[in-house]
């Protein structure tokens, strides 16, 4: 059996390390978000993606500048993976004028429109039909772009999911349907919400390829999304990629997690996407700890930036409702 080539050889050191740094940055962001919330500095809710870092970073890395992203409520990681600015994200999280959405959107609605990040969504499945329109526009404008729409397992049970996949399929649109199956939609386990083994099986109902990958393995995610992107760019239509992962924290701010066991959480924590990837890179614990500290320092800077930023002006509420 041939030996699996090291990622360091395939990607080169810089790219391989960048992936790790992004994952560390996401985790540090989420841990800080949780802390700020506990300190009462955040008005609103949040959905943390701790444990899902590889799923966000691997997918983003497989795409090119100019491609589009639509994502969902558990979206801090997606935005950072897409190259989002930590300062603007933290400022948005704290509702400041310097935030991505000038404090109007908050945690659930972070968008980085200049980078073709068309935004997180507070509505489960809300971005899925929009992906059809983005795909259609790419096709009509005859560009080489693709759109990835990220959503959870829960979103696959909204009617609009089915309409969207079918439309993208019949028109061969360059859409990557990226389902982050973290095993639960709030308290609802996937096992109780659908009678199929894999969400990717739904692809066959629309005549498109469906694949399931280990979402805690950055490289597998990367490969699957890359293949889907190539197919989309070649004009061969959409793909449904299911990324199997797990959220370590509760659904949102207040969740007693009565629907799952501590043992289950612990089992999944053993599959920590960051540790796994670092191991694959052959990094020492010391180097990993150093990179982790770097990420945490960056987050501290972001908090300082956000806290020093001005609040939005109350007299501007009516601005920005219409173009």
């Amino acid at each position: 059996m041939p030996k699996q080539p090291s990622i360091l050889t395939t990607w080169g050191e810089e790219k391989a390390l960048n992936a790790l740094k992004k994952m560390l940055l996401i985790r540090a962001f989420e841990e800080k978000a949780e802390e700020l919330y506990a300190l009462g500095k955040v008005h609103g809710t949040m959905h943390l993606s701790i444990g899902q870092e590889a799923s966000a970073v691997g997918a983003s890395m497989a795409l090119k500048p100019g491609d589009y992203l639509l994502n969902h409520h558990r979206g801090h990681g997606h935005c950072l993976a897409w190259g989002g600015d930590v300062d603007k994200m933290m400022a948005e999280f704290l509702g400041k004028e310097t935030g991505y959405c000038r404090g109007r959107g908050g945690s659930m609605h972070i968008a980085d429109v200049e980078a073709n990040n068309l935004g997180a969504n507070g509505i489960v499945g809300g971005g899925v039909p929009i992906a059809v329109g983005v795909g259609l526009s790419i096709k009509l404008r005859k560009t080489e772009q693709v759109v990835i729409v990220m959503f959870g397992d829960g979103a696959a049970n909204e009617g609009a999911f089915h309409e969207s996949l079918n439309m993208a399929s019949i028109w061969d649109l360059p859409v990557i349907y990226y389902c982050e199956n973290n095993q639960y939609a709030m308290s609802m386990p996937v096992k109780r919400a659908m009678n199929i083994e894999r969400i990717s099986q739904r692809a066959c109902a629309y005549g498109i390829p469906g694949v399931t990958v280990d979402g805690n393995d950055l490289f597998s995610v990367y490969e699957a999304v890359k293949e889907a992107a190539e197919r989309a760019r070649a004009g061969d239509g959409p793909t449904l990629v299911e990324s199997l992962t797990y959220r370590w924290r509760g659904h949102s701010k207040s969740d007693r997690q009565a629907y799952r066991t501590r043992e289950e959480v612990k089992e999944w924590q053993k599959k920590d996407p960051i540790k796994r990837y670092a191991k694959r890179l052959g990094l020492s614990d010391k180097t990993l700890a150093e990179l982790d500290q770097e990420a945490k320092n960056r987050i501290e800077q972001a908090v300082a930036f956000a806290e020093a930023s001005p609040e939005p002006d109350v007299n501007t509420i009516l601005e920005g409702v219409y173009a």
Binding site: R104, G106, L318
Partner: protein, 328 residues
């Protein structure tokens, strides 16, 4: 009398209705082991089992449809939409099916269902989790719309809604869930379609809904110290709407202010104002009838912006005071 929170009062209405009547059941997202996003159904799964406390996939059109189908065939379902915002995904089933079936079928079928949902802002949940869409339903013949402001009314109105033979949209408010008030232990009903005078006064009539009733009551305390006596009326049921106490009150005060959280344009306030000026109360008016309502904007995330997007106590004080003082 014993005090319960608004959430507990709703839960008690559900529990008592389900215990007494096997046709009543609940269906919605995360209502079982999670107990509902706001804890309203906490404990009901243990009491009634999975057969009657039904957790659904995230499928709001499906939830509405399941209620309609069950109601058509002898059940009295109580559906829960986790946030009122998501009822937009159920609209076809509610507006074109539930509301019309009885009429279209020549009165030969009925759809006795309740769909509960929390509306409103104030929790920092931003634009897609803070909507106040009650007036969308008021506009649809065939639907009833209920919006309680106290634990007492929440329990009694919910029981009345469950036993009503029509589809009822039952609008709760996130900020009300933890408010407390006296609630009798025994089962009782507050009939749909009865407005209530919740405070008497001679100077200005305030018609307020949901959380705005509480804010109007606070405003009234402040105004009373200035010698302005406000009369407050809570319609409780937006449809069918009982205008009698409102018209009587305006005949007495000659001044009226309608307060709600939903956006002013196209809101419920416009309807109330129209009904006042179309009535005999018109001749008694000493000032223009005013509305105080949400700004014509989505709810912002930022706490301060969010606060200033919907009416607050100080805004009500100011509006009522200027009406009373003849400044308009």
């Amino acid at each position: 009398m014993r005090e319960l929170t608004y959430a507990e009062a709703i839960r008690e209405a559900l529990r008592q209705s389900m215990s007494a009547d096997p046709t009543v059941f609940m269906i919605g997202e995360d209502i079982g082991v999670y107990g509902g996003a706001f804890g309203v159904s906490a404990g009901l799964l243990a009491e009634f089992g999975e057969e009657r406390i039904i957790d659904t996939p995230i499928s709001e059109a499906g939830i509405a449809g399941a209620c309609i189908g069950a109601a058509l065939t002898g059940m009295r379902p109580v559906g829960e939409i986790q946030f009122m915002d998501f009822v937009t995904l159920s609209m076809e089933q509610l507006v074109l099916q539930a509301a019309k079936i009885r009429f279209m079928f020549g009165g030969k079928a009925k759809v006795p269902m309740v769909l509960r949902m929390p509306g409103g802002s104030g929790t920092g949940a931003a634009a897609q989790h803070s909507e106040s869409l009650e007036n969308w339903f008021v506009h649809v013949p065939g639907l009833k719309v209920v919006m309680p402001s106290t634990p007492y009314d929440a329990k009694g109105l919910l029981r009345a809604a469950i036993y009503d033979d029509n589809p009822v949209i039952f609008v709760e408010h996130k900020l009300l869930y933890k408010t407390k008030g006296p609630v009798p232990e025994e089962p009782y009903m507050v009939p749909l379609g009865q407005s209530k005078v919740v405070r008497e006064g001679r100077d200005v009539t305030i018609v307020a809904t949901s959380i705005m009733v509480l804010r109007a009551m606070q405003a009234a305390e402040i105004l009373a110290k200035e010698g302005v006596e406000v009369e407050i009326i809570d319609p409780r049921t937006l449809k069918p709407l009982d205008m009698t106490p409102i018209i009587e009150s305006v005949k007495k005060t000659g001044r009226a202010l309608v307060v709600h959280e939903a956006v002013k344009m196209g809101g419920f306030g416009g309807e109330v104002v129209s009904l006042i000026v179309e009535s005999e109360a018109f001749d008694y008016l000493e000032a223009p009838v005013r509305r105080l309502a949400g700004l014509d904007a989505p709810i912002p995330y930022n706490r301060t912006l969010e606060y200033h997007t919907v009416p607050q106590v100080e805004n009500i004080v100011e509006e009522a005071r200027s009406l009373a003082e003849g400044r308009f």
